[in-house]
C-alpha cells in the first residue's frame, strides 16, 4: 500500500490568554513550535509525563481548544489545511477521537445512543459491542453503570463506528488489565494496518514501545525527539536527546534511575533549550536561541545541539582508519 500523509502538524504553537493580577492580560504559551507527521498505516506515539500538554495537542488537532486559546502554525489533514470549518465535516467521520475516561460520556444518555452518535447505525454499534465482548444490554446502560474496562471498550467502539482515516487516542489504556490493554493495542494496530494513521498520546512508554512505529518524546510543551521505535528499544546511544535517554533509563526494567528536577512551568520557560536546567551536557551554547531548533540527526529529529550522529561518526572514523591504513 502506498503511504499517504494523513496528518501533518507544522510549527504548531498554542497559547492561552489569561488575566493576571488585576486586569493585566498575559498569554501563556503551552505548546511551542511543534512539528509532527502521521502517515497511513503508522502509529505514532507521543510520550511524555503528565502536565506536559499532551492532551492539548490532541484538542488542537481536533480544533476543539477553548475560545481563549490561540494557535499558530499549520495542521494539514491529507494535504489540506485543517481549520475549524473543515474539521466540522471530518470529525466523527474521518477523524475519530478516543478520550481519556468515562467522564467524556454524557451522564444522562444511554450508552448505545452515545456510541452511535450522529453518524453511526444501531447495527454497527451492536456488531462492535459483540466484537468487544460487551453484553447486548450494555447499550441500555448509563455511563455511571459501566466498569472501567467496559467504559474503555465502549469508547473504543465509538471510535470505530466510522471507518476513520485518522484516529487520535488520548491515554487509552490506564485502568485496563494487561490483557485488555494488549487487546486495545491490537485494535490500534488493526486500524493502522487497514490504512489509517493513529496518533497515540500516552505517558506510558512501555505501551508505546509495544505498538508504535515512531515515538515522539514530549517535554514542556514540545517534542524533544522523534525517532523510530527501534531506537528507543535499543536505548542509550541510539537515542539523540539526553532527556530521551534519561526517560528510558528511568524505567524499572532498565536502570530505574530517576531524573532529578521537574519540567519547567509554561509561564517560566528558560531561553534556548527547554531541558538545559536538568541536562548534564548543558553548556553556554545551549542558552542560545537556535539550541531549541529541531534538527535531523540519523533518521530521527531532535532538539539538541550536542546530538551526534553515531553512525556517521563511525563511518567517518572508519574512513580515517582506512586512510591511515594506506
Amino acid at each position: 500500500m502506498k503511504k499517504e500523509n494523513i496528518l501533518k502538524v507544522e510549527d504548531l504553537t498554542v497559547s492561552f490568554s489569561r488575566y493576571q493580577k488585576g486586569f493585566h492580560k498575559t498569554s501563556l504559551e503551552v505548546i511551542h513550535s511543534l512539528s509532527l507527521e502521521v502517515n497511513s498505516g503508522e502509529i505514532v506515539a507521543v510520550v511524555g509525563s503528565s502536565g506536559s500538554g499532551k492532551s492539548l495537542l490532541a484538542h488542537a488537532v481536533l480544533q476543539l481548544l477553548p475560545q481563549n486559546a490561540k494557535t499558530k502554525g499549520e495542521i494539514l489533514y491529507r494535504g489540506n489545511s485543517l481549520g475549524e470549518k473543515q474539521s466540522r465535516k471530518l470529525l466523527g467521520r474521518e477523524i475519530s477521537f478516543i478520550p481519556q475516561s468515562v467522564d467524556y460520556l454524557d451522564p444522562l444518555m444511554r450508552v448505545g445512543a452515545q456510541v452511535q452518535g450522529v453518524y453511526g447505525t444501531k447495527e454497527r454499534q451492536q456488531m462492535l459491542f459483540q466484537q468487544f465482548g460487551l453484553a447486548q444490554d450494555t447499550q441500555q446502560k448509563y455511563p455511571f453503570q459501566l466498569s472501567g474496562g467496559m467504559a474503555r471498550r465502549v469508547l473504543i467502539s465509538a471510535a470505530l463506528m466510522e471507518n476513520a482515516k485518522l484516529m487520535i487516542a488520548d491515554e487509552p489504556t490506564p485502568g485496563l488489565s494487561v490483557d485488555l490493554a494488549m487487546d486495545t493495542l491490537k485494535y490500534f494496530r488493526n486500524v493502522a494496518d487497514q490504512g489509517a494513521g493513529v496518533l497515540l498520546i500516552t505517558h506510558d512508554i512501555d505501551l508505546a514501545l509495544q505498538v508504535a512505529d515512531r515515538i515522539a518524546v514530549f517535554y514542556a510543551g514540545t517534542i524533544l525527539e522523534l525517532a523510530p521505535t527501534e531506537d528507543f528499544v535499543k536505548g542509550g546511544q541510539a537515542l539523540r536527546h539526553p532527556y530521551s535517554r534519561a526517560f528510558m533509563s528511568a524505567l524499572p526494567q532498565n536502570e530505574f534511575q530517576p531524573l532529578a528536577g521537574s519540567q519547567p512551568y509554561a509561564g517560566n520557560l528558560p531561553k534556548g533549550c527547554l531541558f538545559a536546567q536538568r541536562c548534564s551536557l548543558c553548556d553556554e551554547q545551549c542558552k542560545s536561541e537556535d539550541a531549541a531548533l529541531m534538527r535531523q540527526v540519523a533518521g530521527g529529529k531532535v532538539r539538541c545541539i550536542h546530538a551526534i550522529d553515531q553512525d556517521r561518526n563511525r563511518e567517518i572514523g572508519n574512513r580515517h582508519q582506512a586512510m591511515a591504513g594506506i
Binding site: 484538542h59 481536533l62 476543539l64 477553548p66 466540522r88 471530518l90 470529525l91 466523527g92 467521520r93 475519530s96 477521537f97 478520550p99 475516561s101 467522564d103 467524556y104 460520556l105 454524557d106 451522564p107 444522562l108 444518555m109 452518535g117 450522529v118 453518524y119 448509563y142 455511571f144 453503570q145 465509538a158
Partner: protein, 325 residues
C-alpha cells in the same frame, strides 16, 4: 420511591410542622398581642368580670405548654379555630384565600420557569454577547430590587399612568361575585402575576445560564463535538437534558421565595389571597389565623421540596437506576 422513603418523608413532614407551629406559637404568645382585646376591641363596654370569664373559657389562664397542646389537639382534628378578622373558621379562610393565591403563584411560577429557562439557555449559548450582557444586567437589577417596589413601579406605570390595568383587587369594584366573569379575573391577575414573575425570573435565568456555561466546558460536550455533533445537536441531544434536570428541582424548591414574593405582591395590588390575609391577621392580632397560615405555608414549602426530591429520583438515571444496583 419505596415504602421506607415515603415513611421518612412523612416523618420529616410531621417534625417540620410540629416545629413550625411551636415556633409560631411561641412568637405570637410573646408578641404584645392580647387575644381578648383583639376579639372585643379596645373600647368595648364589656365588664371586667365578663372579660375574665371569656379569658377563662378560652384557656388564656393556663400554662403555655397546656395552651399549645390544646391548640395542637384541635388542629389535629382539623379545627384551627375561628378567625377574628373574617369571622369564619380559619381552615375555610385559608381555603378561600389560597384559591386566589394559587392561581397567582401558579401563573407566575410557570411563566418564570419557562421564560427563565429559555433566557438562561440563550444567554449561556451566546455567552458574553450583547443579548447575554443585557439580560444579565436586567436580572441583577431585578434580583436586588425589592418585590413591593417592582410592584409599585408596575402599578404606577401601567395602572395609574397608562390606565391599561386595574389598580388592584381580584375583580371589578361594585360587581356581585356571581357576575364576575373569567375575563375580569384574568384582567385583574395580569399585573400581580407580572410582578411575581419578574421577581422570580432572575433566579431561574441566572441559574440556568450558570449551569449551561458549566456544561459547555465539560468533557462530554468536548467529546460530543469531537464526534462531529453540531451546535443544534449538542443542544438537543445533551445540553437541554443536563440543564433541565437541576433546573426543575431548583424550581420546585424555590416555593418559599415564591410564597414570600406572593405575600408582598398581593399587598401592593390589594389582591385577596393568602398574602393580604397574613397582613390583615397580623394587624388585627388574629392569633388563630396567623398560626393557621404559618402551618399552611410550612406545608406548602415542604410539598415543593418533596416534589423536587421525588422528581430528581424519577428523572435522574443515576438515582433512579442507581437504587437498583
Amino acid at each position: 420511591m419505596n415504602g421506607k422513603k415515603i415513611f421518612t418523608e412523612l416523618l420529616r413532614m410531621v417534625c417540620l410542622l410540629a416545629a413550625v407551629s411551636l415556633v409560631a406559637f411561641l412568637l405570637i404568645t410573646n408578641a404584645p398581642i392580647d387575644p381578648l382585646v383583639s376579639y372585643v376591641g379596645t373600647n368595648s363596654t364589656l365588664s371586667p368580670e365578663a372579660k375574665e370569664e371569656i379569658a377563662e373559657y378560652w384557656g388564656l389562664k393556663e400554662s403555655l405548654p397546656k395552651r399549645f397542646l390544646t391548640w395542637a389537639g384541635h388542629a389535629l382534628q382539623g379545627d384551627l379555630g375561628t378567625s377574628i378578622t373574617y369571622k369564619k373558621p380559619v381552615a375555610q379562610v385559608i381555603g378561600e384565600r389560597f384559591s386566589y393565591s394559587f392561581v397567582l403563584m401558579l401563573a407566575a411560577w410557570i411563566l418564570s420557569s419557562f421564560l427563565g429557562f429559555f433566557l438562561g439557555i440563550v444567554c449561556g449559548l451566546y455567552q458574553e454577547g450583547i443579548f447575554d450582557r443585557c439580560i444579565k444586567v436586567f436580572c441583577l437589577i431585578l434580583k436586588s430590587a425589592p418585590t413591593f417596589w417592582i410592584g409599585l413601579l408596575l402599578l404606577s406605570l401601567f395602572a395609574v399612568k397608562l390606565g391599561w390595568f386595574p389598580i388592584g383587587m381580584a375583580a371589578p369594584i361594585g360587581k356581585l361575585s356571581s357576575e364576575v366573569a373569567l375575563g375580569d379575573r384574568i384582567y385583574h391577575l395580569i399585573l400581580p402575576v407580572l410582578t411575581l414573575t419578574l421577581v422570580s425570573i432572575s433566579e431561574t435565568t441566572l441559574y440556568t445560564r450558570q449551569k449551561l456555561v458549566e456544561i459547555l466546558s465539560s468533557d462530554f460536550i468536548l467529546y460530543a463535538r469531537a464526534r462531529g455533533e453540531n451546535r443544534r445537536q449538542l443542544v438537543f441531544r445533551h445540553i437541554l437534558k443536563n440543564v433541565a434536570l437541576p433546573a426543575i428541582t431548583v424550581q420546585f424548591s424555590s416555593f418559599s421565595e415564591l410564597f414570600g414574593g406572593m405575600a408582598l405582591a398581593e399587598n401592593v395590588f390589594a389582591y385577596p389571597g393568602i398574602g393580604t390575609a397574613i397582613t390583615a391577621a397580623a394587624l388585627n392580632g388574629d392569633v388563630p389565623l396567623l398560626l393557621g397560615i404559618a402551618v399552611f405555608s410550612g406545608l406548602f414549602v415542604f410539598s415543593g421540596n418533596l416534589i423536587a426530591n421525588i422528581l430528581y429520583g424519577v428523572l435522574d438515571p443515576r438515582i433512579r437506576e442507581g437504587e437498583a444496583l
